[in-house]
């Protein structure tokens, strides 16, 4: 794992708080100061401030024009704070339990309405493409977010390769089902295997990628190794992990969280600060490593690339 470095006081995040101090009224100053101290001790000693600097010295080898310039979430946080119910429902469970998963050999089945259905070995599946470092925001439906440098290739490349027929309107994805290794699957917290789906135009969007790594390295198991979907304008759970099947279908496919709670999780699940989760607000989010919440952006800030796909749609109905 990563080597801890001694604390470094100089940090942009501290300055942010100072700016914040000046804005607050005198009445709140004491509280702000106390919170500042609390926040500093919570965040600095740990990982975020210190690792943020280490990890931010990492430079993408093959950057993409879609990359955000925001500070990266430290590698340690990205790989220890995960929702991957196949390995348990606590955030720390995936990092603890995912070592059991055997990702080699790995095959991916592509079928449905395509001219060239095939079953690929992972290496053959990925080999034709040049991997890009895609630095994306990731907004979890629970109200927290990260900035993650994925390593992957556009999903559209695969679609072009297998040539969907005119009947294909949606793409359905499926995660591995192997309770011996994915010990979270031994309890039916969700319906296994995990399934997800996109409309074909969403899948063709240049932002949608299949990731095989992060921080320029092979994807750790807890992050969805060996192959996962990343659709940064949607809530994190749409990014299905450890994919074994990609199917081109005519009708909107079932999706796991929608099956679990249809009134809480829709098929689209686009990040939308104006449509609350029935039980909590989606207006703001806490960026991991930061103390103050920040406003959540429409389509997670990717409106320029994706908003046109949803023009004329009632996003309250199609949440």
């Amino acid at each position: 794992m990563l080597i801890k470095k001694p604390d470094d006081v100089a940090s942009s995040e501290i300055t942010d708080e100072k700016t914040y101090f000046n804005r607050r009224s005198f009445m709140k100053t004491a509280a702000v100061a106390a919170a500042g101290v609390t926040a500093y001790s919570l965040f600095s000693k740990k990982t975020s401030l210190t690792f943020a600097q280490d990890d931010n010295s990492w430079k993408p080898a093959n950057p993409s024009k879609f990359n955000t310039t925001e500070a990266l979430t430290p590698y340690k946080d990205v790989t220890t704070y995960n929702n991957f119910y196949e390995f348990g429902t606590d955030k720390s469970d995936p990092a603890e339990n995912a070592w059991r998963l055997k990702t080699n050999p790995w095959t991916i089945e592509v079928n449905g309405y395509v001219k060239k259905p095939a079953t690929y070995h992972l290496e053959d599946f990925v080999k034709p493409y040049k991997l890009e470092d895609r630095i994306y925001r990731m907004r979890c439906v629970e109200g927290w977010s990260m900035v993650i440098p994925w390593l992957g290739f556009p999903l559209s490349e695969i679609i072009k390769r297998v040539q969907p027929t005119s009947k294909a309107k949606f793409v359905a994805f499926q995660t591995l089902y192997r309770p011996d290794e994915m010990i979270g699957q031994r309890r039916d917290v969700l319906q296994w295997p995990y399934v997800e789906g996109l409309r074909l135009d969403e899948a063709m969007n240049p932002l949608a990628i299949l990731a095989v790594g992060l921080y320029g390295k092979t994807l750790p198991n807890q992050n969805g190794a060996p192959l996962r979907l990343v659709v940064p304008w949607k809530y994190g759970f749409k990014g299905i992990k450890s994919i074994v099947q990609i199917r081109f279908v005519e009708n909107q496919p079932p999706t796991t969280w929608n099956l679990s709670a249809p009134n809480e999780y829709g098929f689209y699940s686009n990040v939308n600060p104006t449509v609350d989760h029935p039980r909590w607000s989606q207006a703001r989010e806490r960026r991991i490593g930061e103390f103050f919440k920040r406003p959540t952006l429409m389509f997670n800030g990717y409106g320029d690339q994706v908003a046109s796909m949803y023009s004329g749609m009632d996003l309250r109905k199609y949440f």
Partner: protein, 213 residues
């Protein structure tokens, strides 16, 4: 006299310190970097779960006392109850301060609109009432019967705490349901006790009636 001394000077201080252990651990982990990537969420969860645990402990004292016949257990009930209030206050403060950062507009919006927050807040208000009426002076002022009535609120606090927990989880309801079963069992004990007491009173009464005939 000796028993009183042991309870007041040894067991009670030990219990007091034990009740502070979760807070000490949380603080230690916070300052040494052993919380997760989302420490505010950890603090919220830890203070919340200990509130519920101490409510359960408090609710368990009467049944335990009746089953074991260790009547001195009653002398710890106020302390565990007050510690439930203590962790509840920390939990509430975490929400107001660390999570929402005194954004009263957002908080006032949340409390009625988010059912799990409504229930949690209502349970906290009940804990406040229980805490302020926990002194000897208040027992005297209210009188035993009235005081007992007021302190039945703890039943609703227990149920509210479980519902609050149940409504905030996404899919894995196992842990809140376990707490639910424990709280229900502790309440069922009281119902059973009440019914059997009435039944035996009835039996005594009717047998007396039979004698008098």
């Amino acid at each position: 006299m000796k028993k009183n001394f042991v309870i007041a000077r040894i067991i009670k201080p030990l219990l007091f310190v034990s009740c502070l252990v979760p807070l000490a651990l949380l603080t230690w982990n916070g300052f040494t970097g052993h919380l997760s990537a989302n420490p505010i969420s950890d603090i919220t969860h830890e203070t919340g779960i200990w509130t519920l645990r101490l409510i359960v402990v408090t609710l368990a004292i009467t049944p335990l006392r009746q089953i074991t016949k260790i009547h001195a257990l009653i002398r710890f009930r106020r302390m565990t109850g007050l510690f439930a209030f203590f962790y509840g206050s920390l939990h509430f403060m975490t929400y107001v301060w660390l999570d929402q950062f005194f954004d009263w507009q957002s908080i006032l919006h949340d409390i009625p609109k988010r059912p799990f927050i409504t229930v949690g807040f209502a349970s906290f208000v009940m804990l406040i009432l229980l805490a302020v009426t926990s002194t000897k002076k208040m027992i005297r002022r209210l009188g035993g019967k009235k005081w007992n009535m007021v302190h039945r609120l703890i039943y609703f606090t227990g149920i509210g705490g479980v519902i609050h927990y149940l409504w905030l989880v996404k899919a894995d309801t196992q842990r809140p349901l376990i707490y639910g079963i424990i709280v229900l069992a502790l309440l069922a004990f009281r119902v059973w006790n009440y019914c059997s007491a009435r039944f035996s009173a009835h039996v005594v009464l009717s047998s007396r009636e039979a004698e008098s005939v």
